[in-house]
Symmetry: D2
Amino acid sequence: MILPAPLTGVIPPVCTPLTPDREVDAPSLLRLVDHLVEAGVDALFVLGSSSEAAFLTDGQRRLVVETVVAHVGGQLPVLAGAIDMTTPRVLDHVRAVTAAGAAAVVVTAPFYARTHPAEIARHFRLVAADSPVPVVAYDIPAAVHTKLPTDVVLELAADRTICALKDSSGDLAAFRSVVSGARARPSLTGFGVLTGSEVVVDAAMAVGADGVVPGLANVDPHGYVRLHDLCRAADRDAARAEQERLCALFGMVGVGDPTRMGPSSSALGAFKAALHLRGIIACPATAAPQIPLSEAEVERVGKYLAAAGLL
Amino acid sequence: MILPAPLTGVIPPVCTPLTPDREVDAPSLLRLVDHLVEAGVDALFVLGSSSEAAFLTDGQRRLVVETVVAHVGGQLPVLAGAIDMTTPRVLDHVRAVTAAGAAAVVVTAPFYARTHPAEIARHFRLVAADSPVPVVAYDIPAAVHTKLPTDVVLELAADRTICALKDSSGDLAAFRSVVSGARARPSLTGFGVLTGSEVVVDAAMAVGADGVVPGLANVDPHGYVRLHDLCRAADRDAARAEQERLCALFGMVGVGDPTRMGPSSSALGAFKAALHLRGIIACPATAAPQIPLSEAEVERVGKYLAAAGLL
Amino acid sequence: MILPAPLTGVIPPVCTPLTPDREVDAPSLLRLVDHLVEAGVDALFVLGSSSEAAFLTDGQRRLVVETVVAHVGGQLPVLAGAIDMTTPRVLDHVRAVTAAGAAAVVVTAPFYARTHPAEIARHFRLVAADSPVPVVAYDIPAAVHTKLPTDVVLELAADRTICALKDSSGDLAAFRSVVSGARARPSLTGFGVLTGSEVVVDAAMAVGADGVVPGLANVDPHGYVRLHDLCRAADRDAARAEQERLCALFGMVGVGDPTRMGPSSSALGAFKAALHLRGIIACPATAAPQIPLSEAEVERVGKYLAAAGLL
Amino acid sequence: MILPAPLTGVIPPVCTPLTPDREVDAPSLLRLVDHLVEAGVDALFVLGSSSEAAFLTDGQRRLVVETVVAHVGGQLPVLAGAIDMTTPRVLDHVRAVTAAGAAAVVVTAPFYARTHPAEIARHFRLVAADSPVPVVAYDIPAAVHTKLPTDVVLELAADRTICALKDSSGDLAAFRSVVSGARARPSLTGFGVLTGSEVVVDAAMAVGADGVVPGLANVDPHGYVRLHDLCRAADRDAARAEQERLCALFGMVGVGDPTRMGPSSSALGAFKAALHLRGIIACPATAAPQIPLSEAEVERVGKYLAAAGLL
């Protein structure tokens, strides 16, 4: 499947439903994919942070890509994360996910090893040189503990090392500097700038985002498709109202008791609880060592869904 | 090979020599192992940070463990890192390295995913439950961006989840609190507290360390064996003199130009350049995306060796 | 001067012109104030970060407030920073700046001392209890190394401890959560939410900001007044165009060589160089220990001004 | 009072007793000073972090220095902190504390403003140029969020900008590199290297510290004098035993409930509760916005004292 240039639209980072014994639940995964595709999303991103890629074994990762690609066939592009510490390990994932049919790979800066910007640039160049499909740079400082510098992103975009940026940094000023830099240079035509935010999609679109990759789109894909369309139509007041409804829904990520669990257990636990409550996946389990939500916490997820008109 | 309890002595984190095309150079690896064993080290730790574990593919990791275990046979224990982001991925490495003969696995806190202390404890418990060999906790905040809390370490030690701590945090106060906590509880008899420092080994031994895991021991294992023995013999002035000689040698980790490369390229590059200059390994290459040292930088490594009487 | 509730509009954080021997240059300060007032700004904020409050002695701080208040009389409100480490020291500044005529005080979370959110809340409560004028909370994690939590801000707003938030965190998602929280609660009517950003003012206004406090408004107050008015008029495409012009101008903050100086020397140096080049202040000096821009760097500031049509 | 070169021995950072209404309690302060002097300490350090300098107003700071200097007369040197954000503000404190009789000033890197190493060096040079007494560099990254680089410290020591380093970084490896660097250069003869640690004093002395500045010495000055003398006498096993007793006592800093207060409220609250329980100061109050210890927490402080043989 050829990737559009630039990447645009709503591209959910697909959750990975698990069985109670923490294996990939393929039937639930396919129901989730159908739920997203039917809502009108433009592409799918598997093996990202919302997919619990950091928690999936190589076997599970492969199964996810194969399952999703086989199911959506050529209907829409499937991007796959190749999330690992350094170049050689990332390249192994690139080989695996492209063999399984991924249309693009999504790659972060190196982590665990501490790196210089020159090493980050080299990392992307080496990955791109060996990847049979386009590379999307994934800027996620909360996970990898470095921020992709704007000048590095623009340099890698200019020489076609990367075809797009997925920005989960939460830094709209830096996001805008990439958008402006990309627009100012003819050599960057076709470079896609995507936001990973759930809650400032309208703002990111207003400053020039090409597309959006919100984890919450698992729970409410229709909402994000609507929001994206309203932004495209420049109906900004309606966009803002829809965004604010989704912001309220996003409050669910805070249901987990912070004295008992980390933000990932709470947020991914809430997304999965919501998908379970909505009848889309069979089991809300998250991968180890995440801590399950309590019954009361799940109940609060239900209230968020009800308030947003989703239950 | 049964692990001593507690783990003690000098346990070098073995560098992984690579060929010019970045494959594991098994003959050089064996020469390096011989060099370490002949110097009188007590155990070997493969696939740690100094081994570039973060940069090695799964295939390369397996090859390293198999090669080293086959070579040293039952002479001394081989500990192996099982370095990955979360429990399920770590467990895959545990299976791989124990199948290859590792006598213990060395495991960090989860990374990439942000975790709560309760999740860190759960991670170690789940890994230990499924590991056929003892688990060593590896505290390396510079890499994983959390510090193992003293109370978590002592709790995991008390219920025999972990058999030892390798502390690369640089925080001697916290190190001492683990040592004191371990000594104060009969249930922790046999728990080993190891320092990952190159430069305060004498101090760590003086506060009660059981053993030392210094990356620089690749370059000068005789020095660290001597230092360890002097510390054991409570000949603290001689220990301090030897330590200071090793501190001066350790200056080599700063040869790399910080405007061109990160600390890992510089430090591991220097260790490998030193091993190459000493004729132990065939090629000083480090794994991608690390940046090679320049000729002038390698020359400075040579000067450090000469000043320490090693060239 | 009674403060409007909520605080709205363009409120420049007024630079503090210095003489070559680093004393407050009152005539230049008054020319700068006139330049801002004539451009139509809504209030003035002295002794903020852009004012180099961290570098001014108590005597200089007092002189700045007295000079500006005496000059603008009752024309428009003068807010003054009371920037110091903890409650007792902040209260001394509150007394000084209100004696000098400040209409409101702007207060950060404690710094140097490490604090718990409960201590941050207590700090604002104690300051407000003793302040004769309203208190604006100043969220500037880059300086104080904690972020004001949304729930703390809303709680302090609800009990009238603070009358407004100046958010210089760069985190638009958190900013929006304050805006939404404030709008959802009748008890918060009149609470002002101000952005300290230079480069996402249009986005902040679109999500509901009441006003803007951009350091760059020293250099181009007309631009920010225009931008603010376009945002108010919901002419978002024109707002975006004006914002992008200002973003390009803001590039000047990067003129300083990062191998020679920190971000403050570069950014404040550029603002002052621009004010000097525009003939508004007599001397571009910044306070010690900041490093002056080189001639070539000042020349680049001139090019930014020229490109923005300001020279 | 002439300062010895190098500074050596036990130099307690003197707590500042407060009355219930948070004014300086001069009689208690003098009792505390007597308690320290009688125990045999070598100098006194007022207005440091343990003195709550960050919480004291300028008037209170002045009163503290005047009170202590007048009392100890020429018996032993009184060092005073000049803790503030930047050079001009620090210089105002330098003038105040030297007018009040301080024999040396203790100065941190700039904070609040973000600074480059070149600006840090310039800061110390400008302060030293205007200070009538020697300058001690205070390395306290937990408060100022930068670590003084070893090369900057050695450079400032070499040109006599600073006469000593007080290292509260907790990084013994960096501490040792300063000690070794100082010993290796004849130009640094007389430069003092002091540790701010409570719990690794024996280790710091073993690597070459000239003196120690432990906050806990307020509570048990005899212990630290004994420990220092044992270290000087190279009776390292006895030193270690005394250090371990003091480490156990230091556990008191954790009595405060971390869900209710920050580390400063807990640690300084515990020191003052201990001084109150020992009958040395009249009131255990800490400055705002710190949170008082509960009765149960104070009771736990008492248990620490009892266990250490101090009650």
